[in-house]
Subunit: 450 residues, 2 copies
């Protein structure tokens, strides 16, 4: 067995860079000959676009296509600007229909039309079919390549057909069985085909309990179904129940990863799908909306504190504890909403119901509020001595913890019910709300007790 | 084809609950007979532990085992307290070795010993072997069930062996080829076995470019390798290169999901792996540490503002803008660090290097700071008229945006370099730091300009 983990040590990189600078194609070719394309991709992340293209042009077209296909969408979009339409056509011709459609979707419409015109006839019709679907539905995830069989065939005929079709299908573990109108009847695993007597008909070994998805199903739902039923691939049918493609688990892993990334962005107050290496202007624009909401909250806070100008002028220390109150409200709100979001995604075996859930949140808040209030009271007592403000601050802190927990629980539940992504609730939204709430509670306590 | 999507409408749930209350086992059995176990699992989330056990006891043991295996770890742990060791043994005997080991790991040591003693001999020795491994390494993820073949066999012998071994292996797509010391030589896909002449030897169709992982490799790394090389299963070898198990993609999907959850918890300031339905005390404890750090930050803020008591007493409005400054610093810090964390996970094709990255962050910060400062200046000018404090607030805001961006960039990079999870930097850590930083910048500006 060959050693497959490819070491990207500094020495090697330097040597490789030298060869690149010298345009030593012989060295590059022989070095990379035995290397897994996925490792070459990692290596290319070290070089600039022009150098990477030079390396790829040396490699065989299958390897080159695999590497270009492996790049993430944004990187590839930039990188392919170095390529002519004819060069891209050559690459796309090597790919499965779903990967080909993904790349074509990223290119300017003019370039992609030019490339489609140059594709092999089979791939061309498959790709044209796939481009009709939105990227975020099953139709946009699926590949057209699959192995179809008829129920009245026997195993020998089935294997014959696999031999014919397998040329175009790189990896498969299942044969789908359709009727003469192409409607999905069931599936037969390769495992079963191998172990069955060759004269058996497909009908006899057919598994008709097959989970399929319709073309318009959202990618998130496809991911949920595949992980719920532990499927490594799922057939896609159109509204007439006809088999039109299949989705494999590796595409769904990408969906899951992107989804987690999207949630993280929502939690961090970034509005568009932006990456650090996007342009300065795009980065700025993606951040401004939530920052403005934060600013608005800050200005309302300022106006609100203005109402208590007299109190603050008399006892300046009142102002000192505003950061403490607000920071705690924000932290509690984010913690709570984050746990609620998590339990909305994975409901427990015994769903507790809203009231029981609120009761529990309330208990946790009482405990946390009590501890924090006590600690702050103790510290303030040591610093300021016996001052009536100590009690006010600690009491206000206690109430802020309780209210912030409540808002942190309610917000994601409400967002979820109205069809928004509840992760939105764990971001600047909850922080801004709780900043204002905390300020209100604090000054109300001051008003009542001081 | 049977309709597989099982509708959980209210009417059905009510009818089912009635049958449950009446302990109408005949209705339950006949209703669930044709239903996919994964759908029954979803249904059970509606009922309490005792009712769920009643339903499961009616179902055939294979279905019951599949459902119990599908439950998430915490739910299962609670649920299995309703079961005797003998009942659990019956369930575990139906499972693959990796799933069996997972369940045994969750049980009290006394119960699990009792169960192991009652397992079928083959499963027993496999499970005992698996229990040696930590849950978070390849050895803890792998299953022992796999199909092994020898290189000098021909395809017919290979299929014969598959027939023998397949009894214990539920799903497989690959046959692993080993030498007489059980060392991994390569693999043959079922696809290839089907399409090859039966007299061919395994050696001739063997793919020796096989990616394997060692037992001690961390689960995160296994997930990375499988998604990098697009593998649906990966063989696991021990330090001697001997084949000891295989990991399938569905287990890795779970690892990816858990990892995203862990990152989210870190970002929300929750220290332990806690779920909403854990006990009140555990929930409280998981939140306290970060809340205390926030409180500490708040107390330091209070102390710091104390130094400016005279200024605040003179111009109370100084205090009004503290929330604005701090909220913006916090939001900018989280946005920046979140993007940096993202790009640490998925590096771009051309890694920009620290200085170029900082330069860009700096440009975005300048732009955002400029816009926000201008807006706040405008609003304040409308509200307070021409006041020197307006300029101070806007200037301080500008600098806070710039500094917070800097800290948001540096913190995750430093954490990452020292081997911590950089997602830690997007949580209360950065908020607390930036609250203090913001306050410092604000009062320094006041000190210099007012």
């Amino acid at each position: 067995m060959k050693h497959v983990e490819f070491e990207l040590n500094k020495e090697f990189r330097d040597r490789f860079q030298q060869a690149l600078d010298a345009r030593d194609s012989e060295f590059i070719r022989s070095t990379l000959e035995e290397v897994n394309p996925a490792d070459i991709t990692a290596l290319l992340y070290e070089f600039n676009g022009e150098e990477s293209k030079y390396v790829l042009d040396i490699l065989p077209i299958e390897v080159r296509s695999k590497i270009i296909n492996d790049l993430d969408s944004d990187t590839r979009k930039n990188f392919l600007t170095n390529y002519s339409a004819a060069e891209i056509t050559e690459v796309v011709n090597q790919l499965d229909s779903d990967d080909a459609a993904d790349i074509l979707n990223e290119l300017p419409i003019k370039t992609s039309e030019e490339i489609i015109a140059g594709l092999d006839p089979d791939l061309k019709s498959q790709v044209i079919d796939l481009l009709r679907y939105d990227e975020n539905v099953a139709g946009g995830l699926m590949a057209k390549e699959l192995i179809k069989a008829r129920a009245d065939w026997n195993v020998v005929q089935c294997v014959e057909e696999i031999r014919k079709q397998a040329e175009n299908v790189s990896k498969f573990y299942t044969v789908y069985v359709v009727d003469d109108a192409d409607r999905l009847l069931g599936k037969v695993s390769l495992q079963k085909l191998i172990l069955t007597d060759p004269r058996t008909t497909v009908k006899e070994i057919l598994d008709d309990d097959v989970v399929s998805v319709e073309t318009y199903l959202e990618d998130r739902e496809v991911a949920e179904i595949m992980s719920k039923y532990d499927l490594e691939s799922v057939p896609v049918v159109n509204v007439h129940g006809q088999l039109v493609g299949r989705i494999t688990i590796d595409d769904v892993v990408d969906v899951i990863t992107e989804q987690a990334e999207e949630d993280r962005q929502l939690m961090s107050g970034i509005t568009e799908d932006v990456e650090e290496d996007d342009s300065v202007w795009r980065n700025t624009r993606a951040r401004l909306p939530w920052l403005l909401i934060g600013i608005l909250g800050g200005l309302i806070s300022a106006r609100f504190m203005g109402f208590f100008e007299r109190e603050i002028a008399q006892i300046t220390a009142i102002a000192f504890f505003v950061p403490l109150i607000q920071a705690t409200g924000g932290n509690v709100g984010i913690q709570t909403s984050s746990l609620v979001v998590q339990s909305l995604v994975n409901p427990g075996f015994v769903d507790e119901g809203l009231w029981k859930r609120l009761l529990k949140v309330f208990s946790v808040a009482l405990l946390n509020g009590f501890f924090l209030g006590l600690i702050v009271f103790g510290v303030n007592w040591l610093v300021f001595g016996n001052n009536p403000l100590n009690l006010v601050v600690s009491l206000a802190l206690f109430f802020v913890v309780v209210f912030a927990s409540f808002i942190g629980t309610i917000t994601p539940i409400v967002l979820n019910r109205f069809g928004f992504n509840p992760a939105l609730a764990s971001g600047p939204f909850i922080t801004t709300t709780n900043d204002l709430l905390g300020l209100g509670v604090y000054f109300l306590t001051i008003h009542l007790l001081l």
